[in-house]
């Protein structure tokens, strides 16, 4: 597909700060492009360059093959509509009047809006669900309503390209989805080309055909959502730990931020080993990590949600193959971790023959004089014909600390002398 808007070796700087150095990239006709990147990576500047609000110091930008600097503003406004992050109106223009301003590039110097202009503006307002706000002063609207007015104004421009700067950042989840669906349907029905700056990686992944990841003024990655939004890329560019999975419904990558592990700051010098599974351990582990404790996990099957969590945070774990019972090797590995720990926590998880060995390891630890904290487990579903119950009895009689609630864990940990 031909690029409708193309930047060729563009350099741009604000006084004293270079933003882009030799940037080349094109917005292809009919695509929805998501532009992501951390704060001050140059997303808004890129948008302003593409609309011709800023001029590159070097290089050129082409709109449908024509040098953007040689195209009149009026012509640009008929082709490209911008939805800004926000806009203030100092005088009491009504929402309807603001939307009608989108018709300005089609009107003569002395003209008033014609019937056709009114019709197009009303269509835009209906599509963005703001028809009822027509007579209200723009300044009195909520942020979300204002944003929808600005989108309606952009629609009134009947553009071929729409550049949006975080259009849904002030919207509730209902309108976020609605606006994104609207953009998608305009893209399909009117072949509208869209570039959408977003801080919401999940929405960007969900609705974009292609994603550009910007990192301090250069393109770090470009391609399909699942190519660009990876744990590695996000960690490098945003300096944040995330977990990326496939959204089970849409197949798009889904990003979950993880609390930053501060293990390097382990001021408290205690190591806690958590025996867990099926996500039962992540909560305690996160809390302990945030307090600066070292945490290890085990034994976990590969693919278990606790395992994914531990892997994302780089925790030490004793692992077993997917869906396999705990082997001798894994059991010993786990014991090794228990050996190094100051405290063992037994989380509340379902017990079957496959992971019964985890409870046995806890008993073993107790015998060796380790402190063991057990979350009470009513074993509503005991898949071991009473063996698990037996283990819990053992633990209780052997002197393990039984607690009812996760919130008590930190207290237990503080009791331990390292």
């Amino acid at each position: 597909m031909p690029a409708i808007l193309r930047m060729e070796s563009v350099c741009f700087q604000y006084p004293g700060r270079e933003v882009f150095h030799d940037l080349t990239f094109g917005l292809e006709e009919g695509e929805i492009l998501g532009l992501i990147g951390p704060n001050s990576s140059g997303k808004t500047t890129l948008l302003k360059l593409m609309d011709g609000l800023l001029n590159p110091k070097q290089g050129k930008i082409f709109l449908e093959g024509k040098d953007l600097r040689k195209v009149s503003r009026r012509e640009v406004a008929r082709k490209i509509a911008v939805v800004p992050q926000e806009m203030e109106a100092p005088f009491s223009f009504t929402a309807g009047e603001i939307v009608l301003m989108g018709r300005a590039p089609y009107m003569g110097r002395f003209g008033w809006e014609k019937q056709r202009d009114l019709k197009i503006a009303r269509e835009g307002m209906a599509l963005t669900d703001i028809a009822h706000l027509e007579k209200r002063p723009f300044a009195e609207l909520s942020q979300g309503e204002k944003q929808r007015v600005l989108i309606a104004r952009a629609l009134a421009q009947e553009p071929r390209v729409m550049l949006l700067d975080e259009p849904t950042s002030h919207l509730d989840i209902n309108h976020q989805v609605e606006i994104n669906e609207l953009i998608r349907s305009l893209n399909v029905e009117k072949n509208l080309t869209v570039m959408n700056i977003s801080h919401d990686l999940n929405l960007a992944a969900e609705y974009s055909h292609r994603i550009v990841l910007l990192s301090s003024g250069s393109i770090y990655a470009m391609g399909t959502p699942s190519m660009v939004i990876t744990e590695e890329n996000i960690r490098r560019v945003y300096e944040t730990m995330v977990m990326v999975e496939k959204n089970p419904v849409s197949g798009a990558p889904r990003v979950t931020p993880l609390a930053k592990a501060k293990m390097e700051k382990a001021g408290l010098q205690k190591t806690i080993h958590i025996i867990c599974g099926e996500g039962s351990g992540a909560d305690s582990a996160r809390r302990l990590l945030l307090r600066g404790y070292r945490v290890s996990l085990g034994v976990l099957n590969i693919g278990d949600s606790d395992e994914k969590f531990g892997k994302a945070l780089g925790l030490t774990m004793a692992l077993e193959e997917p869906f396999s019972p705990i082997s001798e090797r894994a059991y010993r590995e786990n014991q090794g971790l228990i050996e190094k720990a100051d405290l063992i926590i037994v989380e509340r998880f379902l017990v079957g023959y496959g992971n019964l060995a985890n409870l046995k390891a806890a008993i073993e630890a107790l015998k060796k004089g380790k402190r063991v904290v057990v979350l009470e487990n009513d074993l509503q579903y005991d898949f071991t014909k009473g063996e698990a119950r037996g283990c819990y009895q053992w633990l209780q009689e052997g002197g393990a600390e039984f607690i009812t609630d996760h919130s008590l864990i930190l207290k237990e940990v503080e009791k331990v002398k390292s």
């Binding site: 609309d51 503003r73 640009v76 008929r78 100092p90 009491s92 009504t94 603001i98 009195e140």
Partner: protein, 336 residues
């Protein structure tokens, strides 16, 4: 708009009939009709009344209308251009430039030279034009004139010229001091009827150009970036508007002195009644401004008749409380 024009005519006629010598409205109509349409026949002994109306009051009322209209148009445009509801025609320093010109002229007694009654307006207009160029070139950066820079330049130049005026006043002899003060306070007493034609042409031309920018000004009031996104050639509009508001302001200030508050308050009043669309705001505030200043000047002429107070005093006395009211009201409505 037709309604407003009608109001303006009515106010004008009423103002002409009022004054130190009261002339009944019916007679005023008759005299005006006779003069302009040659119809009707005023009775004997009306030569004096006729002279008062046609030679003294009518030019003054027309001057009031022109000055009020020009200041209000300039105020509306600058408020949009600078996105500042407190902008007025004097904010860019044009008026203080005119004032320096006028004060210099009065102090050095140039009025007694061959220039005669044109001396002060001429000097004031020259001062205004020089200031326009001055502000423009100071504020210009790489071919652009950023609104904020322009605003600051104007404010600073005003302060600088005020200091010069203070200095000039402090070294001026008493009998000239009166003229200087009277000019600075603003009044329509000395507007030469010959100058009216020139001002009218300026106003007509300037307003027509500014009116042609009305749609762009709507967009500009949303911010320059927004305007540019919607197809406005921002720099061109800004420069044109700057030059033409300065020209009409300079033209009227040079004959009337500094009449305050009209250019600030009338645009707000107009917006409150008819909304902020400049395609309507510019002509409407011209008509409303004309009316307001005619009224203010009528008050200035009549409250202490036969002596007069400067019309600038009346507009400030009335305008300041009105503006406070506006500010309070806007704050209560939740608008900054």
């Amino acid at each position: 708009m037709i309604f407003l024009s009608g109001c303006l005519a009515g106010v004008g006629v009423m103002a002409v009939s009022l004054g130190a010598v009261s002339i009944p409205l019916s007679k005023t109509w008759a005299i005006l009709f006779q003069h302009f349409f040659g119809a009707g026949s005023p009775g004997a002994g009306d030569v004096k009344d006729s002279s008062i109306i046609l030679d003294l009051r009518l030019p003054r009322v027309i001057a009031g209308a022109l000055v009020g209209a020009a200041l209000s148009v300039a105020g509306s445009v600058l408020q949009a251009l600078l996105r500042n509801p407190l902008a007025d025609p004097y904010i860019l320093g044009i008026s203080s430039g005119a004032a320096v010109g006028a004060v210099l002229c009065i102090i050095f007694g140039l009025g007694a030279t061959i220039l005669g009654s044109y001396a002060v307006p001429g000097a004031a207009f020259t001062g205004a034009l020089l200031t326009l160029l001055f502000v423009y070139f100071i504020a210009r950066v790489e071919g652009r004139v950023p609104a904020q820079t322009m605003l600051l330049t104007g404010v600073i130049i005003s302060a600088f010229f005020s200091a010069i005026i203070m200095f000039l006043i402090s070294v001026t002899s008493d009998e000239r001091l009166y003229s200087v003060t009277f000019w600075l306070m603003g009044n329509l007493e000395y507007v030469a009827s010959q100058a009216l034609g020139v001002i009218f042409i300026y106003l007509l031309l300037g307003s027509a150009v500014l009116f042609s920018l009305a749609k762009d000004l709507n967009l500009m009031s949303m911010g320059e970036e927004t305007a540019s996104e919607l197809g406005v050639e921002v720099e061109r509009v800004k420069k044109t508007a700057f030059i033409f508001t300065s020209l009409i302001t300079g033209a009227v200030v040079s004959v009337s002195g500094l009449i305050g508050f009209v250019g600030l308050a009338v645009p707000h009043l107009t917006r409150m009644i008819w909304g902020p669309d400049h395609r309507f705001l510019i002509p409407a505030s011209a008509l409303l401004g004309a009316m307001v200043l005619i009224l203010a000047d009528t008050i200035a002429r009549t409250v202490m008749a036969p002596s007069e107070i400067p019309v600038g005093v009346v507009t400030a006395l009335g305008g300041a409380p009105f503006f406070v009211y506006l500010l309070r009201r806007r704050r209560l409505a939740g608008n900054p």
